[in-house]
């Protein structure tokens, strides 16, 4: 019956080189470092403690981490890290589980991964584990961590739960604002936010490998995101950008002619999204939202989700880099006119947008409009 012969989950020197090479590529670092990374991985074998906490989460980031195929999640689990605490995966239950966390805290020096937001309302009562509030658990576990990696939009900035009634926040941020609640225990420790909903497994694996190798974190932006992953604009790099420039906008998902046109009028937040989904894709380079004909929700941004609702509605007027102010109502009037006249829908947004050099960062404009 066992037709599925198992590939032994044994990491060889060759695997280390492969993971090292892949991780360097992920971080856009020179391949000359490959031997150094491989050596660090080998030396850290079975030594790197990870404590993974889940608060107001959906387990999506855990699921996403488990989707890593290169390297396989099971190899990471068995060979590269010592996963001391993870509610969804660990064998232990109840007091055994809490003792495992206490033991890790005593040893100290682990990577702390946080999944899910942290509720601050009602003294933290909206999430308790083993009789303790989640915010107290985060506090005591962060105090002895070597570095802290909030994964997903929720743990980074509050995510979707932030628009609910529990005052859900990320580890450092409530949306775009720092809340300073954990500053005393953070005390200079690196905090690397890896937003999107869920976290991208490659971004997480690369950050862990970088840390194991160099003992440092890659350069971060003001929202504590690694620039290597969150430093480029979806809109500027979008494969549908040609349609945008030519003014071909999808207005009806049911129209086969428009099936790969620009999703801007369908609510696409690509212009305010800083990420590399456009080249990294998801699920082992298979696809991503825009390629699947769905608008980008900018889940990489601290404002997600509240400020970006309605998700499927055209945006407000917005300044686009290199394009200038786009007046959506004029565009829509043209769309309506063209459609009514039965003249194909190849309307030109550039007719309504004055092209200017440079252009302003678009996000601030959107914020002003929506605040």
């Amino acid at each position: 019956m066992d037709t599925f012969l198992l590939t032994p989950p044994e990491i060889t020197r060759r695997d280390f080189l492969k993971i090292a090479g892949a991780s360097l590529a992920l971080l856009a670092l020179t391949e000359a470092l490959t031997p150094q990374v491989a050596k660090a991985l080998e030396e850290s074998l079975g030594k790197t403690m990870v404590v993974w906490l889940e608060g107001q989460d959906c387990a999506g980031c855990t699921e996403s981490f488990a989707n890593s195929l290169e390297p396989p999640a099971t190899s990471i689990l068995l060979d590269s890290i010592s996963l001391r605490y993870h509610e969804t995966l660990m064998a232990a239950s109840g007091h055994q589980a809490e003792e495992a966390r206490a033991k890790a805290i005593k040893e100290g020096g682990y990577l702390l991964v946080i999944e899910g937001s942290i509720p601050m309302a009602e003294d933290g009562l909206y999430c308790t584990i083993g009789g303790k509030t989640f915010r107290d658990i985060v506090r005591e576990t962060a105090s002895r961590a070597a570095a802290i990696i909030p994964v997903g939009a929720c743990a980074s900035y509050g995510g979707i739960p932030r628009s609910g009634p529990t005052d859900a926040v990320g580890y450092l941020f409530r949306g775009t604002q720092k809340h300073h609640y954990f500053d005393d225990v953070t005390a200079g420790k690196p905090v690397i936010n890896l937003p999107t909903c869920p976290v991208h497994p490659e971004r997480l694996v690369a950050v862990i490998v970088h840390y194991l190798t160099f003992g440092t974190v890659p350069p971060l932006d003001k929202f504590h995101r690694p620039l290597a992953f969150y430093g480029s604009s979806q809109h500027e790099n979008c494969e549908r950008r040609g349609h945008f420039d030519a003014g071909r906008f999808m207005i009806d998902w049911g129209n086969p002619r428009q099936h790969d046109w620009c999703l801007y009028l369908k609510g696409c937040r690509g212009p305010v999204a800083s990420q590399d989904c456009w080249k990294r894709l998801w699920n082992n380079r298979t696809n991503y939202c825009i390629q699947a004909n769905a608008p980008c929700s900018a889940c990489s941004e601290p404002e997600f989700y509240e400020s970006f609702s309605p998700l499927y509605e055209r945006q407000y007027d917005v300044d686009l880099p290199g394009i200038g102010r786009v007046e959506i109502d004029k565009v829509m009037a043209i769309v309506a006119g063209v459609t009514a006249a039965g003249i194909g829908a190849d309307m030109l947004i550039s007719r309504t947008a004055k092209r200017k050099n440079g252009g302003n960062a678009s996000k601030q404009k959107v914020e002003q409009k929506e605040s």
Binding site: M1, D2, T3, F4, L5, L6, T7, P8, P9, E10, G46, C58, A59, G60, T62, E63, S64, A66, N67, L69, P72, T74, L78, S82, R84, E87, T88, A91, A92, S93, G94, Q96, E98, A100, E122, C127, T128, G130, I160, P161, S163, G164, P198, D252, W253, G254, P256, W282, N283, N284, T286, N287, C289, A292, N293, A294, S309, P310, Y312, E313
Partner: protein
């Protein structure tokens, strides 16, 4: 004199659950199930654009993600009065059935199996299979380094645990294979969903994806691999364990709840015949819905959605004075985490006043899965083992049904891009309901639209049914009832308790939700 055992957190489930029991003379005498986390999903949907709901509700829980987005989209399809194009229906079916397969085998191998296997027996493997020898050496290496996390600490194996090194090693190798195949399943589903987990493409009116023939052929190849794993590894493993080492647990009926079962129809194979079918995604469902009360052998009755109520007598919510239970469409919720006498963020849903078990066993009994019927005939009882069996059986059913849906999409793709969406403007005022049976059980979304905005949004989801605390009359929920009488010979090692609870595949993120005050007409949908 009873002894109290508290298991908090109950791990290897989705979400945060606390289980407390009172043990007397080695058996559970009473039990309490507590959901310990709330986010207020329904509150945050208030006043939002209704079209946001499938995207947002998919993220209630990343485990049932696809089913939430589809149930939500169906509620909107009904409210917007949209008949989804055939391609949209097929893509939604494939998304949910792919999810079913990997979700079930991950539950069995990764979340549950450690309760039945002595994983350390791997170290004694003496066979000649090179891949199993490699696995043995790996485990020995971890033991020598004194670093066996996350497999230890754990409850000690008991007399029901599988300890044969050959069998344990094979099963642990399947544990590892299952994780790889789950990653491949999500790679496959991403062709339809855009991002996995947590889809972007499921919207009111259908599914936005327009997979090419090449993408569909890749999908088909990956599908084939999933079905093969289900048929050749997962189902045989479950049948072998259920009729072998775990037979004593099966015949003892460990973990039976009240004997009340509820499931909704899923996987529509034809387009809707009437507008009411929009709520169910279409007609002629592959797996039928039904209600069985007071005993597994009683005949299944049609589901009447009007019979559903929720109580908050022991939940951390307030109802208006004098009100004890309400239909979801006239739900009232006000969070009160300091309420006296309450012990859970989960409400207490009831059908015709009765607590209901939802999930694989309910579907198996209503649909009379042949392997389940055989086991029952041979003396097996409803409970832990039957739940695992039903999951494996239905993985095969939905997996094999998927091939025809892929073929039909391939046909549709020859004529040009697949179009899976029909659009209509947001109605000013409308209401709708959408139902599907998620891997964990009966799932329904209710939406009320006013001023083209969401006035009220409600979810009554599987783990709300199963993890329910006591209702206003003091009647226990299914988790609680299933623990009564369970043997706990060693108070320090209550392994039977976690076997029972995990056999339901708890998903607490979904179970906890808030409903805001709003009064509407009760919408009654009947399905069979």
């Amino acid at each position: 004199m009873g002894h109290r055992i508290v298991i908090d957190p109950l791990t290897r489930i989705e979400g945060h659950l606390k289980i407390e029991v009172e043990v007397e003379n080695g058996r559970v005498k009473d039990a309490w199930s507590t959901g310990t986390m709330a986010r207020g999903w329904e509150v945050l949907l208030q006043d939002k654009d209704p079209r946001d709901a499938p995207y947002i509700t998919a993220r209630v829980c990343a485990v049932c993600e696809g089913v939430h987005s589809v149930a939500s989209a169906q509620a909107l399809d009904y409210a917007f009065d949209i008949e989804v194009p055939e391609a949209g229906r097929l893509m939604r079916n494939l998304f949910c059935s792919g999810l079913y397969m990997h979700d079930h085998f991950i539950h069995f191998y990764v979340l549950s199996a450690l309760d039945y296997l002595d994983i350390m027996a791997v170290a004694s493997y003496k066979g000649n299979a090179p891949h199993l020898q490699a696995l043995r050496d790996k485990i020995i290496g971890l033991v020598e380094k004194k670093d066996t996390a996350p497999f230890t600490p754990r409850y000690n194996p008991d007399e029901f645990s599988v300890t044969d090194p050959e069998l344990v090693t094979t099963l642990v190798s399947h544990y590892i294979k299952a994780i790889e195949l789950k990653a491949k399943s999500q790679k496959m589903l991403n062709i339809i969903a855009g991002i996995q987990p947590n889809p972007a493409t499921i919207i009111v009116g259908g599914c936005t994806a327009t997979p090419s023939r090449e993408q569909l052929l890749e999908f088909q190849a990956l599908w084939d691999e999933q079905v093969k794993f289900v048929n050749e590894v997962y189902l045989p493993d479950v049948l072998y364990l259920g009729t072998g080492p775990l037979l004593p647990l099966a015949t003892a009926g460990l973990g039976r709840a009240h004997g009340n079962y509820l499931c909704y129809p899923m996987f529509p194979q034809n387009n809707p015949q009437s507008r009411a079918d929009y709520a169910l995604g279409g007609s002629n469902h592959l797996v039928s819905g039904g209600v069985i009360t007071e005993g597994e052998t009683n005949p299944a009755q049609p589901v009447d959605f009007g019979q559903i109520t929720e109580a908050v007598g022991t939940s951390w919510y307030n109802y208006p004075p004098g009100v004890t239970h309400l239909h979801p469409s006239i739900g009232v919720t006000e969070l009160n985490p300091r309420k006296d006498g309450a012990y859970s963020f989960v409400k207490a849903p009831r059908y015709n006043g009765l607590p209901m078990e939802v999930g694989p066993l309910a579907r198996g009994l209503v649909n009379k899965y042949p392997q389940l019927m055989e086991v029952i005939k041979a003396g097996g009882k409803a409970g832990v083992v039957a739940r695992h069996l039903c999951r494996a059986v239905e993985s095969k059913i939905v997996g094999e049904a998927g091939f025809a849906w892929i073929d039909r999409l391939l046909q549709l793709a020859t004529a040009g891009p697949i179009i899976g969406v029909k659009e209509k403007p947001v109605p000013r005022k409308a209401s709708g309901m959408g139902a599907w049976d998620a891997p964990r059980g009966a799932l329904a979304h209710w939406v009320e639209i006013g001023g083209s905005r969401i006035k009220n949004y409600q979810l009554v989801v599987p783990s709300t049914w199963n993890a329910s605390p006591r209702d206003e009359k003091g009647v226990r929920g299914p988790y609680e009832e299933s623990l009564i009488g369970a043997p706990v010979p060693d108070l320090e090692n209550p392994i039977n308790l976690v076997r029972i609870i995990r056999s339901f595949d708890p998903c607490l993120a979904c179970a906890v939700h808030l409903i805001d005050p709003e009064t509407n007409d009760i919408k009654v949908f009947k399905v069979s």
